[in-house]
Amino acid sequence: MTDRAAPVIGTRPVRHDGVDKVTGRASYGADLAMPDMLHGAVLRSPHAHARILSIDTRAAEAMPGVKAVITAADIPECFATVAMGELPMDMHDGSDNVIARTKVLYHGHVVAAVAATTVDAASEAARRIEVVYDKLKPVLGIDEAIAPDAPILHAGLTAGDWAGQAAGRPTNVASRMELKRGDLAQGFAAADTIVEHEFRTTMVHQGYIEPHACLARYGQDGRVSVWTSTQGPFLVRDQCAAILDIDAAKIKVTPSEIGGGFGGKIVVYLEPLAIALSRKANRPVKMVMSRDEVFRASGPTSGTVIRMKMGATRDGTLVAASASLWYEAGAYRGSPAGAGAMCCLASYKIPNFLIEAYDVVVNKPKVAAYRAPGSPMSTFATESLVDELARTLGMDPIELRLKNAVAEGDKAPYGPAYGPIGLQDVLRAAQRHPHWKAPLGKNQGRGVACGFWFNGGMGSSASVTLGADGSAAVVTGNPDIGGTRVAQAMMVAEELGIPVERVRASVADTDTAGYTDLTGGSRVCYATGMAVIRAARDVRDQLRGRAAKIWDVPIDAVGWDAGRAVPPNGRGDREALTVADLAAQLPKTGGPIVGHAALYAPAAGPGFAAHICDLEVDPETGGSRVVRYTAFQDVGRAVHAGYVEGQMQGGVAQGVGWALNEEYIYADDGVMQNAGFLDYRMPVASDLPMIETVMIEVANPLHPYGVRGVGEVPIVPPLAAVANAMRDATGVRFTELPLSPPRVLNGLEKSSA
C-alpha cells in the first residue's frame, strides 16, 4: 500500500466496479430473486391507435399458475405532478403510459398485466385476455400530425394562439416556444450569402444494453420494496407513489447495477405494474422487458423536421438565422423541442435570429430523454448549414466557426452571458491537430462540427465515513452510469490524502441515502461530486479537531497537509498525525467520524465540443465507414481521465450510429418493423476505428476542482460531422438521416443523373 502523496485528480486508477462487471458478479435489474417470487408479463396493444371498448380477463385469471391480473381499473386515475428534477412531470400522462385507460396510443402500449408462477404461464395468460378495440387511423409523423384532417390523439389538446393553428381547435401540436433576438429581416438583408434547407431525422433509441427490469414486493404491512435498474431511485419512488396513490415514505427503492440509461431509465414503465401485481397476488413480482418491448414501448427520442436558414456576410460573419423545429413527442406531449431550440445556435454570436419549436404528438412510444435531449437534431441542421456557408464563401470550416464562436461574456441564445467556456480553445485544438491536415484517400471525405449542452446541477447529498483503520467509505444515492463511484473515491482520496484503493464508494437505496436528484444531465461528477468533496472536507476538519484535542491546542492552530494533521509552528516536540494515526484513536478522542453534505448546485457550466470525422464511401453500394475520428471537448477538469475519454467515445459511437444507420422503420399500420438489434443497426466495435479524444480543460468556476459535465456534449456533433464528411466525399448534401446505404446510393444516383 503506497503512502498517498501525489495528487489523485486527473489520474486513472483501476475502476472499483471493474472486477464485478467483467466476471459477471455485478447484479443488474434482472439478477435478483426472492422466495415465492412470481413473474409478470404484459399484454400490449396490437394497434397504434384505438379506443379500448372492453377488457375481459376471466380466461387469463382461470389459467393454472396465474395469481393476479390487472388493468387500468386496478389503478386510480392520477392527477399528480412529480418534480423530476429539472422539469415537473404530469403523472396523468405518465400513469396512462404505464397502462392505458381508455385509448391505446401506440403499438405496444400496455393494456393489462399478469403475474404467474412462471414467465411462460404469465405470457400465455396475457394472450388469453380478450380486448375489444375500436381501431382508429394512426398518425405516424410530423407531416401527418399537422395535416388539416389529421386524426387527433387527445380530445382535450387544443391549439394555443399560434400562427397557422386556429386557437381552441383540437390539435396534435401540444406546444410552441420561441426564441428571438434583433431584427431578422434586417439581418438577412445584410447577408451576402444565405443558405437554407429542410432537415429530417427519425426516431432512434438510446440502445442501452440492459433492458428494463425490476422486482417488487408489496408487504402485508403496506411497505413496498422495489429493486430496479434506474437512473433515479428517488424518482422511481415518487412516480410509483403518485401513480398508485401510495405514501412515498412506504416505498423503498434499491437501484441495481445499471447497464446503460442515457436518459431512457428515468421514467417508470414496469415498476408500478410489478407493485400493483404484487399487491394483488401478495407475493413478490419480477418483470423483465424483452429487447422487442424495449424498442416498441420504452422511450426513444424524437424524429424531427427542421427548416433552417442562415445568412453571412462575405467575410464569414454570421448575421441572421431562422429555424422552425418540429419534434415528435410520441403518444403524449413532452419532446425536447425547446432544448433543441436553445442549443442550435448556442455556439455562435448571431445578432438576429428567430427560432420556433413545436411539440407534436404522434402514435409512437412516448419519447424519453436521450443524451443531450433535443440538441443533436437541431445541431445537425446548424452545422450542416455552417458547412455550406464555408463552402460558398471559400473559407476553412474551422476558421469560419472560430470567427463566430462564442466566448466568455457573450450572450447565450436563451439569454444570460456565458461564464468561462472552451469553444474557441476546442476549435483551435482541432485546427492544430494533425488529423485536420492529414491526407485523405479515394472516396474519403472529412467533416467538422461543433456541439453544445447546458449540463445540469440540482440537489445532491453525500456522506463519508472514516474507518478505524484510516480507510473511508463514501455513500450517495446516484446510480453509477459513467464511472462516478471511482470519481467519488478519488475525490475523497484527494481531500483526505489517503490512497484511492482505501476508499470504497457505494450507491445506497432511498431509505439509507440522503436525497439526491437523478443520475443524468451530466450532473453527478459535478453536483454530487461537490457534495462528496464537502463531506470529505467535513471529515478532514473533524480530524483536525481530534488532533487539536490530542495536542491540547485550538483547532485553528492545526494545519493540514497531504493527509496529515500538522502541529502549530514551533512545536517541534509534536509529530504530524496521519489519517491512520487519528483514526486509530477515534474512540478516545470523541467517537466515530462521519462527514455530511447536502446542497443544491446551479446548472453546471456549459460544455462545448468539436469533432473531426473522416468517412469513406463506397459509391457502388452507398455503404460507408468512419476511418478516423477525433473528438475535442472542454471537460472543465477531468477527475478520472479514462472515464472522461470513455464518455467522449461513447457519445461519438451513439452519434455515428444515429447518423449512419439507426432509424425506427414503421409500416403504415404503425407497427415497428425492426425492433431488434439485427435490423436496428447500432455500431459495434468492428464498425468504428479507435476514437481519439483530446480533452481541453477550462475550469468551471462553480466547482472546487473546475469540473464540468461531460457525458452529453459528445453525442451532439457527430450527426453533422458525419454528414459534412459525406458531403466532402460525395459532393452531395444529404439533409435526411440516417445516411444508410440505400439513401446514399439513391442520392448519388440522383446527383449524377
Binding site: 442515457f262 430523454a369 449542452w453 447546458f454
Partner: protein, 80 residues
C-alpha cells in the same frame, strides 16, 4: 433594482416588453411583482427556470437578489 430579461414566450404577455427593472429582495417577490404588473404572467412565470447573475436554477424562489442582479427567465430543459 434587478434587471430582468423576459424571453419571447413571456414577453407576449407583456405587450412586447422584454427588459425591465424591478425592485425585489428575492426571486419570489420578483415573480409576484411581474405578475402584479402584467396579470397574464401569473401562473406562467413560475414555469420558467431562472438565471441570476449567470447561475441557472430550475426553481429558486428564495434566491436573494441585489440591486445589481441580472435575472433571465429561461425555459426549463431536462438532461438525459
Amino acid at each position: 433594482m434587478a434587471k430582468v430579461y423576459l424571453p419571447a414566450d413571456l414577453s407576449r404577455h407583456t405587450g412586447g416588453v422584454e427588459i425591465l427593472e424591478i425592485d425585489a429582495p428575492r426571486v419570489r417577490e420578483l415573480q409576484q411583482a411581474l405578475a402584479a404588473r402584467f396579470p397574464a404572467l401569473a401562473g406562467e412565470i413560475e414555469r420558467f427556470a431562472v438565471a441570476v447573475d449567470g447561475e441557472i436554477y430550475s426553481d429558486a424562489p428564495y434566491h436573494v437578489l441585489t440591486s445589481e442582479s441580472e435575472v433571465y427567465f429561461i425555459p426549463r430543459i431536462a438532461g438525459g
